[in-house]
Symmetry: C3
Subunit: 265 residues, 3 copies
């Protein structure tokens, strides 16, 4: 996979942008995708004409994203250096997104586990299709949920529900996601999905920016700041790499690869 | 408006007090009202016979309070000095109320936006009439929600719901306020309102004070302390004044004045 | 009561343990019981074969535990020295339990007030019988709820509901406990109780330990650490002893003794 592949496509619609994510077959998030997401966010935040952004999947399959590319987490397939970069870029993007001055909406088509869920809950508003699923299910793969992803989820649905979903690696369907506050709206299909996401965006853009941005910063600034902190990023990258280098973790991921490869046959 | 106007009227009922708030036409909260609320709270807390307080509106209109008097927030109508005093007195009162050793009940008649909501959720218990509405809707006026008001709301209904209500300037009706935990009880009308508030008060006063007060302090002491902190009050007053002095904020408030004046015609 | 009485009985079931608690008549938790709970937890955590623990009541009565033995809180019946030890051992156990590397399940039969509730909500999962009740109702006895017990409850059901339950000394029945997230499951009777607790345990033990343990530590490590902090334990023991030594607290507890003794007749 060349670093020049483009996974992100931006369309502007007056005062907001549509960002489509497409990396076949299931939008698994590798280093290059996170880098492009970070560049895209930075460039939209610097564009005076843009006040909001809607993220959606450009795949034909019903998948928002399958979360982190497991090749980036499987120690034998990567290196400590690459993993550290991967960790920093992905968490820097997510921290920045969680407190972006832009209005942010996630239009979630279908499956949205792990990294897809974290990216969605970092947005201000979430619409999901009725066949969608969400959760931070890392524990089922034998790995841990990144600490700030847990804090972000707790800020959205509360610590008690986050404890159950993460410790027990539970995925929830669209209807339950709505009931527990993990999403804000459920729609029937993909067509309705973007329509609703854009209608919501247009409504939110009726509110003046300065008061809303200060308010958002009061709500989200503290977590975003500790999340993007350089020292924390370094120490957590080390903790995570140790866990990924455990023989038991490598074996657990190999079990996942075997199940995925069987499922394809 | 003279500083000698009395907006607060106190009646004692055995071991608790009824505090009625009346500043026609809609109890908008100016500096003098906040000063009188602070004096009233201090004097009730120092009165050995008083163990609880019920706040209610003395207006004939169905309004608890309309929140802060916009004249205090409209930079051309006030001064930096007056605004700083306004900020400090109002936030000191709210911080103190949120962890008062007294049992505190809000009897909410009708509309209760912004400052009215903050004052109500600083109390231990809230009863609202069925026509009532609540919310921290400052963003709709083009201004920000004060940071500790957000923290207080998050401590009552959770961070996730607070994010939606404040960022999107959403007001909720009595029934929804009950469903999300923003109030504890909904009653039909004003007559029932005070009856229920007093019945609840009498029930709570059956519990011995020392254990309840220590428990309340464990629940609310940390926020009350950082909220009333002198250095924080000063730095936040400065941030808020900058926002209020922005031409875009002044223009947004002028838009509000125009809408209000049209609505009266 | 001799220090050699055994209140705790451990049975191992493959990779997890059943811990039965029995101190007639109602499992009131005295110093010796907390000591034995702490020893038991330590020894299970050190046993490489054990990955989980189910706590349940060994009484014939429908009581998980009645909470702290009031003799340990009634100043005339104890001493400052004994109380300090009692405070430290009980809170050290609860803090350790709340972030144990083991999977922890509470099988709650019947009444489960105060200390019983705290111990249960320190576990990862709770099943309760339909006649069960829970709450941190200390305020009704004229004493305060320990600060970290409040924080723990807030981490499970949110700060808003915790405020109501603790300040107002409210006990909730099984069905309401389920609705507010204080328990995860309600069963008909004692037989079903252990069956379900063990089925849940077996399901949770399908997940690999390292990722789950790191995730649990992200969820619960910060509270467990401040809770077990030596300096905090000392200063809080002092605050609590002062409250227990107040004539009004002693009188309130004597009122409780009188009611309990009447209830037995």
């Amino acid at each position: 996979m060349s670093g020049k592949d483009r996974f992100i496509n931006v369309t502007t619609r007056g005062n907001y942008a549509l960002v489509s994510i497409r990396r076949e077959p299931v939008n698994s998030m590798n280093l290059e995708m996170w880098e492009q997401l970070l560049e895209t966010l930075t460039s939209l935040e610097n564009d005076k004409k843009v006040r909001g952004v809607v993220f959606h999947s450009g795949l034909s399959r019903p998948v928002f994203t399958a979360g982190n590319d497991l090749q980036e987490l499987y120690a034998p397939a990567t290196s400590r250096e690459r993993y550290e970069k991967f960790w920093k870029v992905s968490n820097t993007f997510l921290a920045r997104l969680s407190n972006s001055p832009l209005v942010t909406v996630a239009a979630i088509k279908g499956a949205c586990p792990a990294g897809g869920t974290c990216m969605s809950i970092a947005c201000d508003y979430r619409v999901i299709t009725t066949d969608g699923t969400m959760g931070l299910n890392e524990v089922a793969l034998g790995i841990s949920v990144p600490p700030k992803w847990i804090k972000l989820m707790a800020s959205v649905i509360g610590q008690g529900k986050t404890d159950k979903l993460t410790q027990f690696a539970k995925m929830v369907k669209a209807k339950e996601a709505l009931a527990i506050g993990l999403v804000d709206e459920v729609v029937q299909d993909e067509k309705e999905l973007l329509e609703r996401a854009e209608t919501v965006m247009q409504g939110l853009l009726m509110l003046p920016d300065p008061g809303r941005q200060l308010t958002k910063n009061s709500l989200r600034g503290a977590l975003a700041k500790e999340w993007a902190d350089e020292r924390w990023l370094n120490s957590e990258a080390e903790t995570a790499w140790k866990m990924l280098s455990l023989p038991s973790t490598i074996k657990a991921l190999e079990g996942v690869f075997a199940r995925l490869s069987k499922a394809k046959m």
